[in-house]
């Protein structure tokens, strides 16, 4: 086999190139990176920067794999959302459910709300299952495994943009003109994703150890959707507004609605708190992930 000889020649020629002067030394002890403190953060940031391409490739992988064996393909990103809004539009129109007045047409309001909610819920559940679904990659290969969790955001974010198609169509149909404030929308979407990522980091680890996490999350998210003013305007009466007040996603959702309908934030202080909370949660989740992943890699 001449090809084979050739290959060995190439590979070994490559292998015998002079060794680089700097040799990486790794030390593994029971304490992991906990003792590193700030140096640990620096290491995490360097590794994150180095895994940019990996994250991107993982996102592309998920996107290209998801609908390879499917006929309707990306239409599946839209169907559940339209179905839910359709049902609630019917309940609203037939006065079965007394839903209060909304600033814009109800269907547009509900469709927008559910798009934001789906972004959050999609990110959270996709992060949570990211490690378990990667199987032996987590248990057998040593690489920055947070890349798997971060890359899990790709699919739901992409779905969000797909869902904007019916949203835009409905806005045009109902003659809703978004205010110029909509250009600040990315600053609302970022904290939504960070919030999901921070929780997702912790839940992905939990899901590795106890598989109930994934099942429980589905139920919690379903209930969560009804406890967040997605399909109805935020309640104002006591004690019902408490649910809204304690829900970290509510201010973000409200802010996005504000940007579309009014162009300014009605509750900027709540929005700021939610932003800071999201960022802090994401950082804590990331660190917790890094500290525990070598411990739980055996449970996958």
């Amino acid at each position: 086999m001449p090809v084979m000889e050739n290959t060995i020649g190439q590979l070994s020629a490559n292998a015998s190139k002079p060794m680089e002067s700097k040799i990486a030394v790794a030390e593994y002890t029971p304490r992991g990176i906990r003792r590193d403190g700030l140096a640990g953060w620096r290491l995490m940031l360097i590794e994150l920067a180095e895994s940019r391409r990996l994250i991107w490739l993982l996102i592309l992988r998920d996107l290209s794999v998801r609908y390879r064996q499917s006929i309707l393909g990306y239409v599946w990103a839209i169907i559940p959302q339209i179905a839910t809004v359709g049902v609630f539009a019917f309940l609203h129109a037939s006065r079965v459910l007394p839903i209060g007045g909304t600033r814009i047409a109800y269907v547009a309001y509900a469709l927008w709300g559910i798009s934001i909610w789906q972004l959050f819920a999609g990110c959270l559940s996709s992060c949570t299952t990211s490690l378990v679904s990667s199987g032996s990659l987590v248990t057998k290969v040593n690489f920055p495994r947070e890349a798997l969790v971060i890359a899990a955001l790709g699919q739901p974010v992409f779905d969000f943009f797909v869902r904007l198609v019916p949203v835009v169509a409905v806005f045009i149909w109902y003659g809703v003109t978004p205010s110029w404030g909509i250009i600040f929308l990315p600053f609302v979407l970022m904290p939504v994703m960070l919030l999901a990522l921070g929780l997702g980091f912790v839940l992905s680890i939990a899901n590795l150890v106890i598989r109930d996490t994934g099942n429980a999350l589905g139920t919690v998210l379903t209930i969560g959707m009804f406890l967040t003013p997605v399909l109805y305007p935020p309640p104002v009466r006591w004690p019902f507004f408490l649910v809204n007040l304690l829900n970290p996603l509510s201010p973000l959702l409200t802010a996005s609605q504000d940007l579309i309908a009014a162009g300014f934030l009605t509750r900027p202080e709540m929005f700021a708190v939610a932003c800071v909370l999201s960022l802090v949660l994401a950082l804590i989740g990331w660190r917790a992930f890094r500290v525990t992943i070598p411990r739980v890699a055996g449970y996958a």
Binding site: L11, S12, Y28, T29, P30, R53, L57, R68, K140, T292
Partner: protein, 376 residues
């Protein structure tokens, strides 16, 4: 740690839990403690836990090829995982100088629906290599794996051998300083195994360090100068390949004997083998025989009390563990009569019908001690 030492493992222990439900429970507690930064007592065993690795220490120098052998569940894969940093030890420390390339599971990280081409690039990224590097190496990877025709098919349609070939090709293309291989070559066909062994040879010549886990003792003996024998999480032997393989065979035989024959109270041996000699037809000791030579196995025994018809057993194994021949006095209807005191028994093979190779002669006497002597 001298500059030559690339892997240094000191007093490393790792525990595992037998029960899955308890694993969950302990896991939650450990994870919670880790996240909250509390110190835990790692060094004691909780219920249902055991040491998968127990106080393991050794060093590997640059340019060494070390074989890691042992029965199933000995802790070999756990040790490799620890070296690779996938999991952390519960005690001890591991120092690795240089970049590690690990094949703990070939094709780990391959996505079944992606094509071979896409998987090569993705694996490269997972292992931390740039796009340029992978593009440069792409052709040689495909060549090495011999998958030119299938490179654009999804890997779930590959045979398991093809899967393994692609995985090995990707791993060696990353040009690591230390290569860790876990029973990976077993699935490939003969031609590919040859290619892998050649590649490993080239790695050794280039001054790289290799650690191989395998159950194929014949194959490992060809490439590894040094071996480690792991059993129940302990290092039982560490040294020259031949010696360690001999201890491994000894260990396996002991297990077999223990299971089969050590049921009676054998703490005080009734009969013991004191000496075994392997001789030629002229009665002179030798360890090198030609096919069709005469072989004599001379067993010296010592009986501590009179025994009626003790059973002597002689077995011949090839060095890869293949059982070639075995006989025992009971099965062959040879009655030794009542024996007491010291004596010798001679087994003659007038026409040794073994092909060239290294063999062991294992000698045992029933319900008492066993002994064996490796010959080369």
């Amino acid at each position: 740690m001298s500059t030559d030492t690339v892997i240094s493992i000191e007093g490393v222990s790792k525990k595992f839990c037998r029960s899955l439900k308890r694993t969950m429970f302990y896991g939650v507690r450990d994870v919670a403690c880790d996240m909250l930064g509390l110190t835990r007592h790692l060094s004691h065993l909780r219920r249902d836990e055991f040491w998968a690795l127990n106080d393991v220490s050794f060093e590997v120098k640059r340019g060494e090829c070390v074989g890691l052998i042992g029965p199933n569940g000995a802790g070999k894969s756990t040790l490799l995982k620890l070296m690779n940093g996938v999991t952390l030890p519960d005690k001890g420390s591991i120092r690795i100088s240089g970049r590690i390339g690990a094949l703990l599971e070939l094709g780990a990280g391959f996505h079944p629906t992606l094509t071979g081409r896409e998987n090569i690039h993705l694996s490269g990224a997972i292992l931390g290599f740039s796009k340029d590097h992978m593009t440069k190496e792409f052709d040689s990877i495909v060549d090495f794996a011999g998958l030119e025709e299938f490179i654009d098919s999804p890997v779930k349609q590959y045979s398991s051998g093809m899967y393994v070939r692609l995985g090995f090709a990707v791993a060696v293309s990353t040009d690591p300083d230390i290569l860790i291989i876990d029973e990976s070559m077993a699935v490939g066909d003969a031609a590919f195994r040859k290619r892998c062994l050649d590649q490993i040879d080239a790695f050794i010549k280039a001054g790289k360090t290799i650690i191989v886990v395998t159950h194929n003792l014949q194959e490992i003996e060809k490439i590894a100068q040094r071996m480690l024998l792991l059993d129940h999480g302990l290092i039982r032997a560490n040294g020259r390949a031949g010696q360690v393989i001999a201890s491994y065979m000894n260990l396996l035989n002991t297990r077999k004997l223990l299971r089969k024959e050590f049921n009676e109270a054998a703490h005080e041996p009734a009969i013991e083998i004191v000496e075994v000699e392997v001789c030629g037809g002229d009665g002179a000791r030798k360890s090198y025989f030609h096919t069709h030579d005469e072989l004599r196995v001379i067993i010296g025994f010592k009986a501590y009390r009179p025994i009626l018809n003790p059973v002597f057993r002689v077995q011949i194994y090839r060095n890869d563990g293949l059982f070639c021949h075995g006989m025992n006095t009971e099965r062959h209807g040879i009655e030794c009569g009542e024996i007491s005191g010291e004596g010798t028994i001679i087994l003659r093979y007038p026409d040794l019908s073994l092909l060239s190779g290294d063999y062991w002669v294992c000698v045992a006497v029933l319900a008492s001690q066993y002994d064996e002597l490796p010959i080369h």
